[in-house]
């Protein structure tokens, strides 16, 4: 009896472990055509796409604003996507540990491209290529806004709410 209790405890523990690890997201390596799909796909949600990298200081600095935006509006039509320019060889050693450490639940992709000039204008003609940069697309692709800068403290939520008004 005691043994059965022990085994059930162990299996419960194993189950917990399984559930918690399966919640950690797998990060997909994508190309520009996949990004184009993410940008243009029909959606009844407001898309916010942030371009960043773990090595980009201002990006990491503004990231908490995106994470709290996600927490607050994820259930209210916000679809947040974090597109990282980390290098593919750093996926396991840098990006994944970072995403786990920060407990990021929003979808993270690693955009592995070389010919940047071929697609920057297609994301937005006003983008010079500097990161951080953020693209907002209202539901049903009704309007869009591109911002090439680091949001100052508490600015992102205001800009987002103003945009979806």
């Amino acid at each position: 009896m005691k043994q059965a209790f022990f085994y059930s405890l162990v299996s419960l523990f194993a189950l917990c472990l399984f559930v918690s690890t399966s919640r950690a997201q797998s990060i997909e390596i994508i190309k520009y055509k996949d990004l184009a799909q993410i940008i243009s796909s029909e959606s009844d949600q407001n898309k916010v796409i942030n371009f960043w990298a773990t090595w980009c200081r201002p990006c990491v600095k503004e990231l908490p604003q995106f994470l709290s935006l996600y927490e607050k509006y994820n259930t209210e039509n916000l679809e947040l996507t974090l597109v990282s320019f980390d290098f593919a060889e750093d996926l396991e050693t840098k990006l994944k540990p970072f995403v786990e450490r920060k407990k990021i639940e929003a979808k993270v992709y690693l955009l592995d491209e070389t010919d940047y000039n071929s697609f920057i204008d297609k994301v937005d003609p006003s983008w010079s290529g500097a990161i951080p940069a953020t693209l907002m697309i209202a539901k049903g692709n009704s309007k869009r806004k591109f911002v090439e800068k680091e949001f100052s403290e508490n600015e992102l939520e205001k800009v987002y709410l103003n945009f979806i008004k």
């Binding site: 090595w55 980009c56 200081r57 201002p58 320019f85 290098f87 070389t114 010919d115 940047y116 000039n117 071929s118 920057i120 204008d121 006003s126 983008w127 010079s128 290529g129 500097a130 990161i131 951080p132 911002v147 090439e148 800068k149 680091e150 800009v159």
Partner: protein, 213 residues
């Protein structure tokens, strides 16, 4: 007297309102600020890592310059630093020396201080001047937004004309896999007296670390 005070108070409120409104205004850095291709470029006078000040007017026999806004810390800058050196080795003798400029604010990015620039230039044996734009006046005038961000300028009569703006090439990861050498092609065109074929390109880069306004 009462009326005067009222007027003053009204004035103060108006000024505060204007300040408040402009403070709230979104400042979006646009790539159209600064110089465009064909514009006359301004000269500068910046301190090099050897302690001496440099201006383009010091180079009397130069045909033009490869101005590279770069820094110590950005991974793209690091990936390109050898290629920047090779550009200088190849084109300085032909009259197009590289002038590298670091404009990052050291309080935002301590690794980009003047002292760190001196170390980096020494460690990596830079063959080109590495200039410190501490006031950010040069990067503001040129309108560079990221590192590395290249401006090729060429001398036409006595004027410096912006002839190419953009990336060094089309593959940051692997110099051997490059298919378009934008800067080399632009300088080659200029040396042959031909119009520059590709005058503007974009690349992902680290944003310039601007001083707090």
């Amino acid at each position: 007297m009462m009326k005067k005070n009222l007027l003053l108070a009204f004035g103060l409120v108006a000024v505060a309102a204007v300040l408040f409104a402009s403070g709230n205004k979104e400042v979006i850095v646009s790539s159209t600020d600064g110089f465009g291709v064909g514009d006359k470029a301004s000269d500068f006078n910046l301190i090099n890592v050897d302690g001496k000040k440099i201006s383009m007017s010091n180079y009397e026999s130069a045909k033009g310059f490869i101005i590279v806004f770069t820094c110590n810390t950005c991974p793209f800058s690091k990936m390109y630093e050898k290629r920047i050196d090779q550009l200088n080795q190849k084109y300085e003798p032909k009259g197009f020396p590289v002038l590298a400029i670091n404009s990052n604010d050291k309080s935002k990015q301590p690794g980009d201080s003047y002292e760190e620039m001196i170390k980096r230039a020494k460690d990596k044996n830079y063959s080109f001047p590495y200039l410190y734009d501490e006031s950010q006046s040069v990067v503001t005038a040129y309108g560079a937004t990221r590192t590395p961000h290249v401006y090729v300028v060429s001398k036409k009569s006595a004027e410096l004309v912006v002839s190419y703006i953009g990336a060094i090439d089309d593959n940051h990861k692997d110099a051997n896999a490059v298919s378009k050498k934008y800067v080399e092609d632009a300088v080659d065109n200029l040396l042959e007296g031909k119009p520059v074929k590709t005058t503007f390109t974009k690349a992902i880069g680290c944003t310039i670390k601007w001083k707090e306004a």
